[in-house]
């Protein structure tokens, strides 16, 4: 009886020690799930989800505070990927899905107030006080954060048109009339 207890106790101690060691040795810094979620998010940093950037939204999803369908730039595709990753139900997007856009400053109207420069989360607007501003288009994520602060309403969002650089082969479609 005592031997049995001793063996069980010894086993518990050894295993406990091993587990304790492993928890220190293989400790994971930060939440790996947040990083995985963040990799799916489009990094527009637009705040349309109600969180100040993609990382806070990822953290909120990971903590179970936020739903997965709050990111309009990510679109339904993003929702599907998040649902896949987290094993949740696919839900329709909260907001309307928009085509990719880019901000354009009407340089004639711009008064050089620098408010949009301060609003831009990715430093994609260049200019100085009382100097004309302009958007560096390849860096613009289309987050629309610069549109509201502009006191003279000179910033417009333009959808990105298809061109030879971003053109894609289409999914082969079977013409029903021909097939019938």
């Amino acid at each position: 009886m005592i031997t049995t207890l001793a063996i069980m106790a010894l086993g518990a101690i050894v295993l406990g020690a091993a587990l304790g060691y492993a928890s220190i040795r293989f400790k994971v810094e930060g939440d790996p799930l947040v990083e995985k979620i963040e990799a799916i998010l489009p990094q527009t940093q637009c705040g349309q989800c109600g969180y100040p950037g993609c990382k806070p939204y990822a953290a909120a999803i990971s903590a179970g505070e936020a739903d997965i369908n709050l990111c309009p730039p990510g679109g339904m595709d993003g929702v599907r990927k998040l649902a896949d990753l987290l094993g949740r139900e696919v839900k329709p997007l909260e907001a309307e899905e928009k085509p990719k856009q880019v901000a354009i400053i009407d340089e004639q109207t711009c008064i050089g107030c620098t408010l949009c420069i301060q609003a831009c989360p990715v430093d994609a607007i260049v200019g100085a006080a009382k100097q004309m501003h302009t958007v560096v288009e390849p860096l613009c994520t289309g987050c629309e954060l610069c549109v509201k602060p502009c006191p003279v309403e000179c910033i417009h969002m333009l959808p990105i048109n298809e061109n030879l650089d971003n053109w894609k082969w289409k999914y082969p479609v079977i013409e029903i009339r021909r097939a019938a």
Binding site: Q45, V122, L139, T141, L164, P172, I174
Partner: protein, 583 residues
Amino acid sequence: MLQRLFGFKGGVKPQTHKAPSVQEPIAQAPLPARLYVPLHQSIGGAPTPRVEAGEDVLKGQLIGGADGWVSAAVHAPTSGRVVAIVDHVAAHPSGLPTLSVVIEPDGRDEWIARTPLDHRSLPPERVRELLRDAGVVGLGGAAFPSHAKLTAARSVPMEDLVINGAECEPYMTCDDMLMRERAEEIVRGIAIFRDLLGARRVLIGIEDNKPEAVAAMQAAVCGLAEDYEVVAVPTRYPAGGAKQLIRVLTGKEVPASKRSTELAVQCFNVATVYTAYRALAHGEPVVSRIVTLTGNVERPRNWEVRLGTPLGDLVALGRPKADTSRYLMGGPMMGFALPSLEAPVVKATNCIIAAAPTTFPASPPEMPCIRCGACAEVCPHELQPFELYWFARARNFGKTQEYYLFDCIECGCCSYVCPSHIPLVQYFRFAKSEIWAREREKNAADAAKARFELRNAREEREKAEKAERLARTAAARPAEKKPAPASAETVAGQPAAVPVDAAPAAPAVDAEAVKKATIVAAMERARAQREAAQPRNTEQLSREQQQEIAAIEARRARVAGDPPGTRTTRPGSAPPPAETGDS
């Protein structure tokens, strides 16, 4: 000349249809009314325009300068005036516009000054630069800048140079006719490439259904006393694929992850070699190319066409038959239907096929895959197209990459043999461009994230720096304050006290020191006042202070009509009671 030939797996033997377009020699296409020369005709960076609208240009004049190393220059195909630099429809399956230089020919076709050069007298780097600035690109259809392929791998000395004259695609005969008519120039051109690469052996691969071309090339090689081997390779599509021809001629299989230079082989098309020779030995940049016009036309033949010639003008030369429904660019296996005949001839335009419903019937409806494996049998890259199709169709792009989607050369053999008429290549193209688009998006997102984090870090740092600055000045103030009143008292109160220190110095310095000291004292006083005034508007005011404030308010009300006056009295009035009394 006995050469052991190797085989490649798979391939098909479609009807060649080459005979109609080789009946007549290559003809010069007439000057069109307008030329639309796209600036971006090769893989790599888009050239930057070097001319302006309204400028007169000569034939061969640079109109687009190469942008970076992997890019090739573009030249005016004839003399005339640049009418505009505008977006014009491209020779591309999408029919989207691309920036093009519109030239109105003056009819003189006057060349710019040409300087013939001998590549042997120039350093290799200079030759590569010259080729880039002459716009020499792969004319087999890929339009990859040739100079970028002309550097041997540092670790492996180049062994074989493969010259590709296989021309396996049905209908196409432009390389065949070029070899028949201009073999000598091709053979002379090979020397440029051989010397640049330092290749030990040169193999010219030509499919054995072109005996005239083989004979012409052999004659040219003998005539110039070169040791190149002209090899007739078995006719089997796609023997003209670079990797297939390398395999057939050298037995080397280029893996997906490696370039052929790492295996000491490099491959060039015959037309590319020809243009490289013209560029160096005649100083003529690439301004035209040979295009096969065939199919449903009354007069199929090869034309030497200026780049930028609208395809409509070219097609009219062949007099297309009435039932022609569409036009294909490239061959029937790998080509695409042209969305518009307004698109111009570019460096990649090797063949235009007029298609009629009788010769190119619409593909029958797609049926379900029966997993017969016919596609896997013919795939020259030994892929499993049926698996790829399954995953591409389900948009499971990760899986398509696991099945080596990017090894697919889109040769079309699988679609050709599929008994269910599945357009397999279309699925693969769709999957590839979708993967590329996602990669672009991912890179853009990563860049945006990096910029966002950088910006946050910068803001944080600026905030910390500001706080630190404030803390430092706050800490410095009390320390300054103690000695300050003392000096202020001594200097302001008894100016005589200063000369005591300054006495040994000259009187001039003395006066200046006094002045300086007075200024310092005044500044200190002002600061002391400011500081004393700062914590004023709080609670815990003594009765005396409250009285003072009341007095000030009363005075303010009195002099309400004179705001500047009020403003001047206010700062001094608050803290020291003595001064309040003064005003």
